[in-house]
């Protein structure tokens, strides 16, 4: 009879396959205590999860470790999410952890929700209480730790946006016992001193416990009572602390808070130049329009040749005068002719003409004698000849 043994590798591969087929093992949520914790220099975390009776090996690869909101330590009670799989080389099964939470954090969550609901009901989050952030603050007060990346980021971003920025750092502890009281007091002092016109309350990312001071009522009330507008920038973009809800403006990160508080001077200067150009262009356009209108007016005859109309009038006047004169002259000529006719006629009718032919006129006492009966002997008459007159006496009957 022949044996058909399989190799160790084949066996482990087979077992690995069995684990992989199991849906439940691919997605387990296990609670336990950490022991034998090692953070390997490669970035992976190796530890054992145990309870009173049992233990299991765990590994968390470095892809997942950045998402942890705490630093694991031996003795910590945690909940691990991951899959159980076989490591063929060693013939062991272990948990490949994807996420891990500290057990007991749930209490903080409940407290957070309770305080949030209470303050919300009191109206501390109301929009009507939010103060506007000054557009061009003369001084910016920053409440954060004087060490670490947060203040550095704020200074860097602020000076990049405005090289002449004025920042006053009021150092405060941002985690641990007593931090909340100190933060609240710092807000009060900044309000009393009036050295700045906006405040940034900032902290880098951390666990819920780390961020806890920003979830405390004393800080919330100090923010609410502040007459200086406050920009909050606590933790990462996904972290919402109670301070964020009460603050006048919430920035997702400390750098973003600096961007919200400090105007970009280069952009502003450009904007101002833009307005100046618009004003200049608009005015020269106006002048151009006025010039065109002026030129159009000046093209009207009255402006180009103001004497034309006068000259035209003169011409009309001249013509009419001429016509008037003509008509008068005509009349005069007519009358002259008439007169000449009359004079000729008169001449023919004149007795003087008859006299030249040898006749003479007899006058008696200035009266022309037309009948012999008008005279009696002895009357002295005057005879008128063409060339003069002579006296005569009537002799007989």
């Amino acid at each position: 009879m022949e044996y058909h043994p399989i190799s160790v590798t084949e066996l482990n591969t087979y077992i690995k396959g069995k684990f992989q087929e199991d849906e439940y093992l691919n997605n387990v949520l296990v609670k336990g205590e950490i022991s034998n914790f090692k953070h390997h220099y490669t970035g992976h975390m190796y530890f054992t999860l145990k309870d009173e009776n049992s233990l299991i090996k765990c590994v968390m690869f470095k892809t997942y470790t950045p998402h942890l909101d705490f630093v694991p330590k031996d003795g910590m009670k945690v909940i691990v999410l991951g899959s159980v799989a076989v490591f063929e080389r060693d013939g062991v099964y272990q948990i490949y952890a994807k996420a891990m939470k500290q057990e007991g954090i749930g209490d903080l969550h409940a407290e957070y929700e309770k305080l949030k609901a209470k303050l919300e009901q009191e109206g501390l989050f109301d929009k009507m209480h939010k103060k506007p952030i000054p557009f061009m603050p003369k001084g910016i007060g920053v409440l954060t730790s004087n060490t670490g990346a947060v203040i550095r980021d704020i200074i860097n971003v602020s000076t990049r946006r405005n090289p002449k920025v004025s920042i006053k750092l009021f150092p405060v502890p941002v985690q641990g016992q007593g931090a909340a009281q100190k933060i609240a007091r710092a807000i009060e002092i900044m309000n009393e001193e009036k050295l700045v016109d906006v405040l940034i309350l900032a902290r880098g990312g951390g666990s819920l416990e780390d961020l806890w001071p920003f979830n405390e009522e004393i800080v919330a009330r100090a923010i609410y009572d502040s007459s200086l507008p406050i920009i909050s920038a606590v933790g990462h973009e996904t972290d919402f602390t109670i301070a964020d809800f009460v603050a006048d403006l919430r920035a997702p990160t400390p750098s973003a808070a600096a961007e919200l508080a400090v105007p970009n001077i280069a952009e502003l200067t450009l904007k101002l130049r833009g307005y100046e150009n618009r004003l200049k262009n608009a005015l020269s356009k106006k002048l151009e329009v006025m010039k065109l209108r002026y030129e159009k007016f000046m093209k009207i005859a009255a402006f180009t040749n103001p004497m034309q109309k006068v000259n035209e009038s003169y011409m009309v006047l001249d013509e009419q005068t001429k016509r008037l004169v003509n008509s008068i002259e005509l009349k005069v000529t007519e009358k002259k002719n008439d007169m000449l006719q009359w004079v000729t006629k008169l001449d023919t009718l004149s007795p003087l003409k008859t006299l030249t032919r040898g006749y003479c006129m007899a006058n008696f006492h200035g009266k022309l004698i037309k009948s012999s009966k008008d005279l009696k002997p002895g009357d002295e008459i005057s005879l008128r000849f063409a060339d003069g007159q002579k006296g005569a006496k009537i002799l007989e009957k």
């Binding site: 002449k164 006053k168 009021f170 307005y275 006025m290």
Partner: protein, 74 residues
């Protein structure tokens, strides 16, 4: 003269520029608006230029606040 608020000045500049661009104003009004706008812009520039870089740390000493220059550690 009254202190110019930057944000208001920018808003006013926008209004003035728009008004002037419409071209409905008389020449005298246009010139007046132009001068008003240029003055606002000048005042804004002065606010920017007059500012001084100052990064300080406020320290509590004997109940008083003292201000010292601050340089963030790298």
């Amino acid at each position: 003269m009254k202190e110019v608020k930057f944000e208001e000045a920018i808003k006013q500049l926008e209004t003035i520029a728009t008004e002037l661009e419409k071209g409905d104003l008389s020449l005298e009004e246009s010139v007046a608006k132009f001068e008003e706008g240029m003055e606002l812009s000048k005042q804004c520039s002065e606010i920017i230029e007059k500012a001084e870089k100052k990064i300080t740390i406020l320290l509590q000493k004997d109940g008083k606040i003292e201000e010292e220059n601050f340089v963030a550690e790298e």
